[in-house]
């Protein structure tokens, strides 16, 4: 079905919804194509193509929401979805106290696309498999490596959005990524090392050029060597010490302890029953000391190359940069048109996204970026007499208010007199969010800053998985509890 035909269905759906009494309606179609490859040693484990098209209609009737989605793409089906959404909204209105209000947003007529140099879906499959197997072959040269895996993922998504306010937006977003993972096993011990990041490597907005720049095969030997070395490395000690985190781990620290707690729907209790709420409230804006003066964090769909880089969110709001934490003070939340009303904002900052056509949009992190400070990673290490450098996220857990957290990394090294020393296995650290960010005394500079991606952020019911970006550089934290007492 062509984009024009889908646009016609969306217009029919909006006409049907407003004709049935909706005060507001938007309709969104999503056509997605995906490719997922996974190679384990010489064996192709996953070679999947995906193709999905559908549409969803969101309406406000009597101040309450209704949403209906279908993969059936006839005019009758689109109109049926709109009428179902209106019926649902009527039911919602029987259990609401105050009508939903939306902050205004210009009715954009626009197109936006991810800049792509080399179409990742057009690259020959043989070339992709060769790139992956070159890396797994190199990792598999070590006897300790039980599993040498390489993965590649591509998603191309075309979205059309129409609203009863007159918005008409078409976006094409391309996410591409790859990674390698070596798992070493001996005597019941399992250790893993990944490159360039864990959990399917690194994904970003762009084309196949992102994968070519990774040099997976060139990094395979070191990845395998480190996994094997971890088998005999001493365990990370339980102590209170200075910790330096690499950019990948800072990414997840930002994600869990800043990104989620500053989602305004969580702050307002809308996610209370599932993902949880937040330890900060609306009353904390412009007052609460979230971290040290070294901590500056933004919500920014306009920063390039991230999994949260886009022109418009899924309720037609133009993406724009918003400060969340400025010199350690909480100054903003991620908002939607509905929740922005609750903090007296004139506009939403454009963070509503839905997974596919079948889901109701939620506040989702775009690119939540820790702004760079000064100096290199070596400069951060140089000011540590005795501490631990941890790299590459391995595990995470945080409470329902996003306060008490524990993270694990794949690998660590002692820091002695400003230099890296012995390798340590099973590094973990725990903390309380504002205390931890308050202990941040240095963030490395622009030369160390890069955009990372989290492809598996879960939220909402039904559960939605979102791809989220985080620009970070390594950072240093004092007086951190490491290890885990069992």
């Amino acid at each position: 079905m062509s984009g024009g035909e889908l646009g016609g269905l969306l217009a029919d759906a909006i006409d049907a919804a407003t004709g049935d009494g909706a005060a507001y309606a938007d309709a969104r179609s999503v056509e997605s194509q995906s490719q997922s490859l996974s190679v384990n040693g010489p064996t192709v484990e996953t070679l999947d193509y995906g193709d999905s098209t559908g549409l969803g209609v969101r309406v406000l009737v009597a101040g309450a929401w209704g949403y209906a989605a279908t993969s059936k793409l006839s005019r009758d089906d689109a109109v049926r979805a709109a009428r179902t959404a209106v019926e649902i909204a009527h039911a919602s209105a029987t259990v609401t106290s105050a009508p939903v209000e939306l902050v205004p947003e210009p009715a954009h007529q626009s197109e936006w696309s991810t800049p792509v140099k080399k179409d990742p879906l057009a690259v020959a499959l043989e070339d992709k498999l060769a790139l992956l197997t070159d890396a797994t072959r190199e990792m598999g040269r070590r006897n300790e490596i039980r599993s040498a895996r390489a993965t590649m993922d591509v998603v191309k998504q075309q979205t059309s959005f129409l609203s009863s306010e007159g918005a008409s937006i078409r976006q094409t977003i391309v996410h591409t990524g790859a990674g390698i993972e070596a798992t070493a096993v001996a005597d019941g011990e399992v250790q893993q090392r990944s490159y360039p990041g864990s959990f399917r490597g690194h994904l970003g907005a762009g084309g196949y050029e992102l994968i070519e720049a990774m040099d997976l095969a060139g990094n395979a030997a070191q990845t395998a060597d480190e996994a094997a070395a971890l088998l005999v490395a001493p365990e990370c000690p339980s102590r209170v010490t200075t910790v330096v985190l690499d950019g990948h781990q800072v990414m997840l620290q930002v994600h869990e302890s800043v990104g989620h707690p500053t989602e305004l729907d969580r702050v307002l209790g809308m996610e209370a029953a599932f993902a949880g709420t937040s330890f900060v409230g609306i009353e904390d804006l412009d007052r609460f000391h979230y971290g040290s003066e070294a901590v500056n964090i933004t919500s920014d769909p306009t920063s390039p190359g991230g999994l949260g880089s886009y022109g418009f969110d899924d309720e037609g709001v133009e993406g724009r940069r918003a400060d969340l934490i400025r010199e350690g003070v909480l100054v903003g939340f991620q908002t939607s048109r509905e929740t922005a009303v609750k903090v007296g904002a004139a506009r939403s900052n454009g963070t509503m996204r839905a997974e596919g056509w079948e889901n109701f949009p939620l506040i989702r992190m775009p690119n939540i970026n820790l702004l760079p400070g000064e100096g290199s990673l070596d400069d951060l290490l140089a000011d540590v007499d005795d501490g631990i450098f941890m790299a590459t996220n391995k595990s995470w857990s945080i409470d329902d208010k996003r306060k008490n957290f524990q993270f694990g990394c794949e690998i660590a090294w002692e820091i002695k007199n400003g230099r890296l020393g012995r390798m340590l296995k099973d590094p973990r650290y725990t903390g309380i969010t504002p205390v931890f960010w308050g202990s941040c005394d240095a963030v490395a500079g622009p030369e160390e800053w890069r955009m990372w991606g989290t492809p598996n952020c879960g939220k909402g019911q039904p559960g939605q998985t979102m791809r989220v970006g985080h620009g970070t550089s390594p950072a240093r934290f004092r007086n951190v509890s490491t290890g885990v007492s069992t």
């Binding site: 993969s71 259990v95 208010k401 309380i432």
Partner: protein, 454 residues
């Protein structure tokens, strides 16, 4: 089973599959189709905040060329889209690498014919938005002393596996799930209920449990981290079992050395009172009678009387083990087999009796944000949530602030000192073909590593 409420009928999937089963150039073809028609009413602050209905479908076409296979998915069942998917899968399979361990597609003569479980309820499949809103009204009324948040979900789900080798499976189930978090300002409480049939879900009763738990949690005090005897309510126990299954019940994880089965198969790993089975036909399970290769889903005692007697397998891992497959393909060759319908066999004590057995310890309602720290030792971490209480002298002695735990599940199961008699099904993830049901457990020496401020 009313075909008018099925999200996709057997005839529709058969027709879609027949368009590609003889795809030119393919040695064999398999089609897996999943479809759902569902509604989820979400509420928070005691009012409905999101409310959706959706019809969805996915068809996965796997094409085999010699010892190579690839798959392509589409969400349109017409012959054109199915043929395009088969063509893409064929091209990918041809470009792929030889796989000497590829087990091929099974035939019914080789693996047997699966029969449907048929856990279906017409009223649940036909539930309307107005019915879901009425249920939320009941929940809100039952929690009027606080604010309520949660979901009320109804849905109909169907799965099919059809292949050129003669596999022809179809099964459908319905599901009604409600959850309720009651918030009284300085404390929260939890209640949930689920079944394949809406009429068996007591939404108001679960809401009353949630508000009672919240009221009882007011004025929580600090407690010192450390190792304590605990009573885990069924939802908390079931969460640990879910992660145990994910961490180690699959044969692929065993073969790759990452599961506890790699070192301890056939050995005692838990107290003899602990028996954990995967059994889709258990009355508290909801799911389908076959796996994603079309094999009959067998009942497997994964831990039997404390002994590690699993794992579960798919065709590929079973062949490597030289054992019959158990019918637990997850549909992902990358992940391998998955035990999706976990049942822990109940014991003989009620919750009060389990609590009475603890001199000094804690009662845990449920856990939050659990994650695996070490797969072979099944070491997990996570938080307690929505009702954690001190036990003193065999009685509940007041609420405490939440703990972070760091605990090996197998060690906890080795320290089980009592198993509850009531088997409770966990509220499942949306659309899941899996289910978990667990009793309450009394566990000695459960490790809490730190606390939080609420």
């Amino acid at each position: 089973m009313s075909s008018s409420e099925l999200p996709v009928t057997r005839a529709e999937v058969r027709r879609a599959a027949e368009a590609v089963l003889d795809h030119p150039g393919a040695d064999a073809v398999e089609v897996v189709i999943g479809a759902a028609s569902s509604g989820v009413t979400r509420y928070a602050g005691s009012e409905i905040i999101q409310n959706i209905a959706r019809d969805e479908l996915q068809a996965f076409v796997r094409v085999v060329v010699g010892d190579r296979a690839a798959s392509a998915a589409t969400n349109q069942l017409d012959a054109g889209h199915m043929t395009t998917a088969a063509g893409a899968a064929l091209e990918a399979a041809r470009a792929s690498l030889p796989d000497p361990d590829f087990p091929g597609l099974p035939s019914p003569a080789e693996v047997g014919e699966a029969t449907p479980v048929g856990r279906w309820d017409d009223d649940t499949a036909a539930a309307s938005p107005a019915q879901r809103a009425e249920a939320v009204k009941e929940i809100v009324a039952a929690t009027a002393a606080g604010a309520a948040a949660g979901i009320y979900e109804t849905g109909a789900h169907a799965w099919a596996v059809i292949s050129s080798e003669g596999i022809d499976c179809f099964d459908a189930f319905t599901r009604c799930v409600m959850t309720c978090l009651a918030d009284v300002g300085d404390a929260t409480g939890w209640g949930d209920d689920s079944s394949h049939a809406l009429s068996e879900v007591d939404a108001a009763g679960a809401a009353r449990r949630a508000i009672a738990k919240a009221e009882a949690s007011r004025g929580a005090t600090d407690a010192e981290p450390g190792s304590y005897d605990v009573v885990l309510e069924p939802v908390a126990a079931g969460t640990l079992l879910d992660y145990l299954s994910y961490a180690g019940f699959g044969a692929k994880q065993m073969l790759e050395g990452e599961s506890f089965f790699a070192e301890r198969r056939g050995q005692g790993v838990a107290d003899p009172s602990v028996t954990i089975v995967d059994d889709v036909r258990h009355p508290r399970s909801v799911g389908i009678g076959f796996d994603f290769e079309g094999l009959p889903r067998q009942r497997v005692a994964v831990i039997d009387g404390g002994v590690a007697t699993g794992p579960v397998s798919d065709l590929r891992s079973a062949r490597k083990l030289s054992e019959p497959p158990t019918g637990h393909s997850s549909g992902s060759a990358e992940f391998g087999a998955y035990a999706a319908n976990i049942i822990m066999e109940p014991g003989h004590q009620d919750l009060e009796e389990l609590i009475a057995g603890v001199e000094e310890g804690f009662l845990v309602t449920r856990f939050h944000y659990v994650n695996i720290l070490d797969r072979p030792t099944t070491l997990l971490t996570g938080m307690t949530r929505d009702g954690t209480f001190r036990i003193s002298g065999g009685e509940v002695a007041g609420p405490v602030r939440n703990f972070r735990f760091a605990q090996s599940v197998l060690e906890a199961l080795a320290n089980v000192r009592g198993v509850g008699r009531d088997l409770v099904a966990l509220a499942p993830e949306f659309g899941s073909f899996g289910s978990t049901a667990a009793p309450a457990l009394r566990v000695d020496g459960f490790h809490f590593a730190s606390t939080t401020s609420h």
